[in-house]
Every structure is written in structure tokens, then in C-alpha cells.
């Protein structure tokens, strides 16, 4: 039987924790974690090093809490969903009546790459709902922008507060309409420059060649290979499901390569496209998911030109390294 605030709830009980001080975080996290341990539930912390140490030091020694290193868990949204689903399936198969996890995405993803993590936060309401999970997602209001916090309220059905309070978020939006918005990402400054390649109606092979030529000696070989995979999948998807003409543009920044694949269609109907695999690959549905596992940022958006998949290899956090924004 499930315990605590999620008692009687079916599926994923997904909460935000928006804290303004270490004391506020501990006031929510400590009873959550000790309550899980007391109930014999798998209890997991994935908060990043500073807040993990804060929580660990405040908990009674020897408490059977599992600590995951946040940076590896939250490298890419599609990978995080895959890893968490494996973890949850293992606990569930082991007979857990409830699993408790408190996690936080790394601070650097709260900037220009937040859009795909906002999609993650929305999609997991569906992706983890087959498990008896009580999950808390922690956001430090001192370092999180108002726009990100607005997305947090739209993607988490509830907020956990000190004093054992759990309040519904009035702005919560179901994943299907939320993900269907396909908002435009923050433009990468390199997109204001002349593309290094601008291909009209290319084959997947021609698009791969453009990436190979641009990437050679520019980024580590593995990152170039993975971008080649992602671009090839995006172009193949545009040929199979999109509407012509297909256009592929590629820009090189000092520490990254950005590729935009545009067709004049409206993009995938599946709101979870890219974040969750659809099927086993026999009938399609894996290409965008593989692209999301192969790049350091992927944006899917609609604008007057049609539907675009923008893929970034290298460092996508141009807001954190403005000196590297210029073209090479």
C-alpha cells in the first residue's frame, strides 16, 4: 500500500519543490525521505552534488537511501526517461508498493536548453505513470528564472511545501496539449550567421556528408558521428512523414554545430515524439528518439516555414559561454 501524500493515488504522483533556501529544501526533503525509508519503500536522491551533500548530512547516518549522481542521470531527457523507467521497473518487479525519488536537473539546463527539459517534465507525467512513483522535482527559486518556474507549474500537478503541505498547481496542463504547443526554442546566435551548408531537398546521404565535412577536426569524432546519425534520422523522417521541400541548414560555432532540418509539414502528431520510443523500430517511431539520444540539444518547433528539428552537437549552452557564440 502506498504511504504519505500519495496514499491511494494510482500511478505517478508528481510534485514540484520550489525552494528559496536550504532550510526550505530540507523541510520538504527530509520527511519525504525518512517517511519512505520508514515505510520500507525504495527511496532515491538525485539532486546534484551540493544539494545531495546537504541532504545526506541532515539525514540520520546509515539510512538506506540510494544516491544517484545527478549529472549522469540528467544528461539528456530521452536518456533520463529510459534510465528512470529501467530503475522503476526493477523496483516494481521487486514488489515495491511505492518508490520515492527526489531529483533536480542540473542548473546549466535551466537556460537556453530548458525547452527540452520542460518537455521532459511534462512527458514524465505519462512516461512514469505505470509505476507507483512519488517523485519530487526540486527547483531553487534563487537561480531559476520566472519563465522556467512558470513551466514547472504547468508540468507538475502539485507543489510540495514545508509543513507537509501538498497543493495542486492551478496552471498544470495535461502533457498532450502542453507538448503539442511545439514552442520555438531560444535561437542560437550562430543561426544569425550565414550557414556553412544550406541544402535544398537533400538525400539523407547528402545531409550526412555536409555534417561529416563540417565536423571533421571541429568536434570530437564521437560527437560528429552521433550528429550524423541524428541528422540522417531527421532527414529520413522528413522524407517519410513531412512535406517537401526539405531544407537542411548547418552552422558552425566555436564549440558546437547546429543543424536545422525543415519541411513544410506540421511535424509529428505524437506529442511524445523523441522523448519516448514508439514501437520496436519495425514500423518507424524510433528515429526521433534516437536523434534525442544522440545530441546535446534537440528542439522540435513549428513556424511559418513549417516544421523544424534543430539538432546541436558540442556545447549547446551558448548563454553560459557568450564568447563562443560567434561563427567560426
Amino acid at each position: 500500500m502506498r504511504t504519505g501524500a500519495a496514499a491511494g493515488h494510482h500511478g505517478y504522483y508528481h510534485e514540484a519543490v520550489c525552494f528559496g533556501s536550504d532550510e526550505d529544501l530540507l523541510a520538504v526533503a527530509l520527511p519525504f525521505l525518512t517517511g519512505g525509508v520508514d515505510a520500507g519503500e525504495p527511496t532515491v536522491v538525485a539532486l546534484g552534488s551540493r544539494h545531495t551533500e546537504l541532504v545526506r548530512a541532515a539525514l540520520p547516518p546509515g539510512l538506506p537511501v540510494t544516491y544517484l549522481t545527478g549529472a549522469s542521470v540528467y544528461a539528456r531527457p530521452a536518456g533520463a526517461i529510459r534510465a528512470y523507467r529501467e530503475l522503476l521497473a526493477g523496483y516494481h518487479a521487486g514488489g515495491a508498493a511505492q518508490i520515492r525519488i527526489i531529483g533536480a536537473v542540473p542548473p546549466e539546463v535551466l537556460g537556453v536548453t530548458w525547452d527540452w527539459w520542460a518537455r521532459y517534465e511534462s512527458a514524465v507525467n505519462h512516461a512514469y505513470d505505470e509505476f507507483p512513483l512519488w517523485g519530487m522535482c526540486a527547483y531553487d527559486t534563487r537561480t531559476t528564472s520566472a519563465a522556467v518556474l512558470a513551466d514547472v507549474r504547468r508540468t507538475h500537478p502539485r507543489t510540495a511545501l514545508p509543513g507537509g503541505r501538498h497543493v495542486p498547481n492551478r496552471d498544470y496542463t495535461d502533457p498532450i496539449p502542453y507538448l503539442g504547443e511545439r514552442r520555438q526554442p531560444v535561437p542560437d546566435p550562430v543561426q544569425r550567421t550565414t550557414p556553412r551548408a544550406d541544402l535544398l531537398a537533400p538525400t539523407a546521404a547528402e545531409a550526412r556528408r555536409a555534417v561529416r565535412d563540417a565536423g571533421r577536426g571541429h568536434l570530437p569524432y564521437q560527437e560528429v558521428e552521433d550528429l550524423i546519425v541524428a541528422v540522417s534520422e531527421a532527414v529520413a523522417n522528413a522524407h517519410r512523414h513531412g512535406r517537401g521541400p526539405i531544407r537542411v541548414r548547418l552552422w558552425c560555432g566555436a564549440d558546437r554545430i547546429v543543424v536545422a532540418v525543415t519541411d513544410s509539414g506540421t511535424g509529428p502528431k505524437d506529442p511524445f515524439a523523441g522523448l519516448l520510443p514508439a514501437g520496436d523500430g519495425s514500423h518507424g517511431g524510433l528515429g526521433l528518439w534516437i536523434a534525442h539520444q544522440s545530441c546535446n540539444h534537440v528542439a522540435l518547433y513549428r513556424d511559418p516555414a513549417g516544421f523544424t528539428i534543430r539538432l546541436t552537437a558540442g556545447n549547446p549552452h551558448h548563454d553560459l559561454r557568450p564568447e563562443s557564440a560567434g561563427p567560426q
Binding site: 564521437q222 540522417s232 522524407h239 520496436d280 528515429g287
Partner: protein, 104 residues
């Protein structure tokens, strides 16, 4: 290689082995599946060694074709390639009948 065809597949020197070179993507799916069928029946329950030393690219759908080829014959396809992304895609496909070994 014929004009417009971006890959080559032929029997290798090793028993139950094939050699695969070039690039495989949406344009070559049907040809690749047909070429695999022509390689004849491999030994049941064993491994098919795919010497892909000259492979420059393979997408997940072509790896899925190879996986199905192996599954239908009850064997494991072992792909040896320098294209490391193939191993990462194969790991995502989570298919026991497909193993990609990256060679230096």
C-alpha cells in the same frame, strides 16, 4: 558498386560470415534486406559474423533489418565496425540477436 547503390554485401572468407561496406539508410532498405536473404542459411544457433570494416554509416532501420534477419534464423549477428555510433544505436535497440563490436 553499381551507380546509385551505396553499399556492398558479399560472403566473407570466414564460415558463416559476410562482408558489408558502404552506407545503409532509407534508400537502401529493400536492397539490403534482399541481399541478406541471398546470403543463404547460416548455421542454426550460432553467430553470423558481419565484417563491416568498410562500413561508413548504418541507420537504426537497417540495423533492425539485420536484427530481424538474425532472429528469423535463430542466430546472433555480430557486426565488427569502426563506425562506433552503430554500437550506440544497437544498445538503444536492446536486441539480444544483434551485437556490434567497435574495432579501432
Amino acid at each position: 558498386m553499381r551507380p546509385g547503390v551505396t553499399f556492398q554485401l558479399h560472403p566473407g572468407p570466414a564460415p558463416a560470415g559476410i562482408v558489408l561496406d558502404g552506407e545503409l539508410d532509407m534508400a537502401t532498405e529493400d536492397l539490403f534486406a534482399a541481399a541478406l536473404r541471398r546470403t543463404g542459411p547460416p548455421p542454426a544457433g550460432g553467430e553470423v559474423l558481419v565484417d563491416a570494416g568498410g562500413l561508413r554509416f548504418i541507420d537504426h532501420r537497417s540495423l533492425t533489418i539485420l536484427r530481424r534477419f538474425a532472429e528469423e534464423r535463430g542466430v546472433t549477428a555480430v557486426v565488427r565496425t569502426r563506425f562506433g555510433a552503430a554500437a550506440r544505436i544497437a544498445a538503444l535497440l536492446d536486441a539480444p540477436s544483434l551485437r556490434v563490436e567497435v574495432t579501432p
